[in-house]
């Protein structure tokens, strides 16, 4: 089941902002041009009450005021009105529309649906008391909370290139939520967290996993550590459902990060995640989108996700009409194939050293969490 509605595009920080609704417009038009688009389920927007499941009243009040154009002087303290997360008219509702989509996915899973793809959301930086990094409300955490309240154990897997800090902190002390984030190391990259030593507290101890990867990691090393870590953790945790934040910004074309994955790695990741859902979570999985700031790359990565999700054969070339329309509109050439061309970027000289460091980080992480996770 796919969840989407046109109003997702209301979540718009302005024409020069990287978190652009144009991505959704390109993606849905591409799927239509490929002839695979099936009418999605249109979700209701989340209510104020539902947002308050994971956010503070005072944050929500400020978002609502900012939506009406009333700017309180302490906005920046709440992560709003910054260069990354500026305020715009109607912001509260636009964010609640995205939350509503992911929450609807959770409801459908509770009602017996197994696979849900939410073509939006993934706002993993939003914290209890603070908007952050393009994220106003945390749709993932609202959906996760809905499912844990119904008694489900939820495993959250975050492949966005940035650390899934908001989801981690909101559920940091919860034993029924496993969070697992693979990201480019926060030593340099936003938000700076996601260290292997952040492993949860109280009932959540050992159930918050972070694998910070070296810049320039590339496909091979990423897949190696992913396949070593994710099934191991899922097997130990025994979730009822997977929630996947499928950010596309680990791609080599992404302007904000340096992990250097290609579409081939993404295809493999999506297939593996579906396999893991079957093997460890009764087949139940809820995908959301997330970061992805190269229009060219993000749209192809998510089109791949859509095809793999539905078990559709992958097209090789993208439709000419679609390409020419968007090339004209964006004023630059686009990759004409669904997959990246071979050898698209120069060889990284430190490849072996990087793979070795990633292996060491994985080892450190598993040693740290094993005593708590395996019992």
């Amino acid at each position: 089941m796919v969840i989407y509605r046109e109003e997702y595009r209301l979540y718009n920080f302005g024409p020069d902002h990287p978190f652009s609704p144009v991505r959704l417009e390109m993606l849905t038009s591409l799927l239509q041009a490929l002839g695979v688009w099936r009418a999605p389920l249109s979700p209701p927007e989340a209510s104020r009450e539902e947002v308050l499941w994971v956010h503070s009243e005072r944050l929500v009040r400020r978002v609502e005021a900012a939506s009406r154009g009333e700017l309180s002087p302490d906005l920046e303290h709440y992560g709003l009105g910054t260069g990354d997360t500026p305020v715009f008219p109607g912001m509260d509702r636009a964010a609640r529309v995205l939350v509503g989509g992911t929450l609807e996915g959770a409801r459908r899973i509770l009602a017996g649906e197994r696979r849900v793809l939410q073509l939006g959301g993934g706002l993993h930086h939003a914290q209890y008391d603070r908007a952050s990094g393009f994220c106003v409300y945390n749709d993932l955490s609202v959906a996760i909370r809905h499912m844990t309240r119904a008694g489900l154990r939820v495993a959250y897997v975050d492949i966005d290139v940035h650390h899934g800090d908001g989801v981690q902190w909101i559920h940091y002390e919860e034993g029924e939520v496993l969070t697992l984030s693979l990201h480019e190391s926060g030593r340099y990259l936003f938000p700076g967290t996601g260290h292997v030593y952040e492993i949860g507290r109280g009932a959540g101890l050992g159930k918050k996993l972070n694998l910070p990867l070296e810049p320039f990691t590339e496909d091979e090393s990423y897949l190696e550590v992913f396949q070593a870590l994710v099934p191991w953790a899922l097997k130990a945790f025994r979730p009822d459902v997977l929630v996947v934040q499928a950010g596309a910004d680990a791609h080599y074309l992404d302007p904000l990060a340096d992990l250097l994955l290609t579409t081939r790695a993404y295809e493999r990741l999506f297939r593996l995640l579906l396999e893991y859902a079957e093997a460890y979570a009764g087949g139940r999985v809820l995908f959301t989108l997330g970061g992805g700031y190269s229009l060219d790359a993000a749209v192809r990565v998510w089109a791949l996700l859509y095809h793999v999700f539905h078990g559709l054969p992958l097209p090789e070339r993208l439709p000419e009409g679609w390409l020419s329309t968007w090339e004209a509109r964006l004023g630059k050439p686009l990759t004409p194939t669904l997959h990246d061309p071979e050898g698209a970027y120069p060889e990284i000289p430190r490849r072996e050293e990087i793979a070795k460091r990633n292996r060491l980080t994985l080892q450190r992480l598993t040693e740290l969490v094993a005593p708590h996770l395996l019992h």
């Binding site: 990287p18 992560g79 910054t82 260069g83 990354d84 940035h162 700076g192 970061g291 120069p346």
Partner: protein
Amino acid sequence: MLVRDVMKGPVLTVGPEVTLEDAYGLLLEKGIRHLPVVAEGRLVGIITDRDIRLATSHLNPKGPCPGCTRVEEVMTREVVTAHPLDPVEEAARVMRERKIGCLPVLEDGALVGIVTGIDLLDALLRLTGVTEPSGRLEVRLPDRVGELARLTGFLAGRGVNIHSLLSYPEEGEFVRAVVRVNTLETHPLAEALRREGFDVLWPPKKPW
């Protein structure tokens, strides 16, 4: 950042006549390593868990201190102290040079706090701004008037808030500036800085 901003207080103390066994029990129970020794309201010494272990151990090259049973027989009497208004870097320098693990903090002769190596690590974390969601830029600047202003002015012009800024001298008349900024967009920012002529060390330039 001053000593009073990072020190801990009130301070747990013992009298000089307390037995080593009792003092050690207190250190273990409270999970601390240093006990200032106070007599008649005045700081007269300091004793650490290591002092006690050494004094009572057969592994001590000089053998266990014969008949040592009380704190005053083992404590260090010349205590190095700090004032609440000392800058933290001053406290760090003293502790590093003397190779000691803490400084009792005195104000008008009264013990008002204690600062340990751990408190200085906390201070370092706060100084680097890593506790705020942020990205990190590293820029090499010529060591001369106005360069830092040029950098911060540029960031301000782009609407970027700076959570923290550390700078330290490098060899060859350069200063290294490490800036934590509240943006995901450190790459575009680095590119813009390069176009302005800044030597940005991180994030790196992608070769394509």
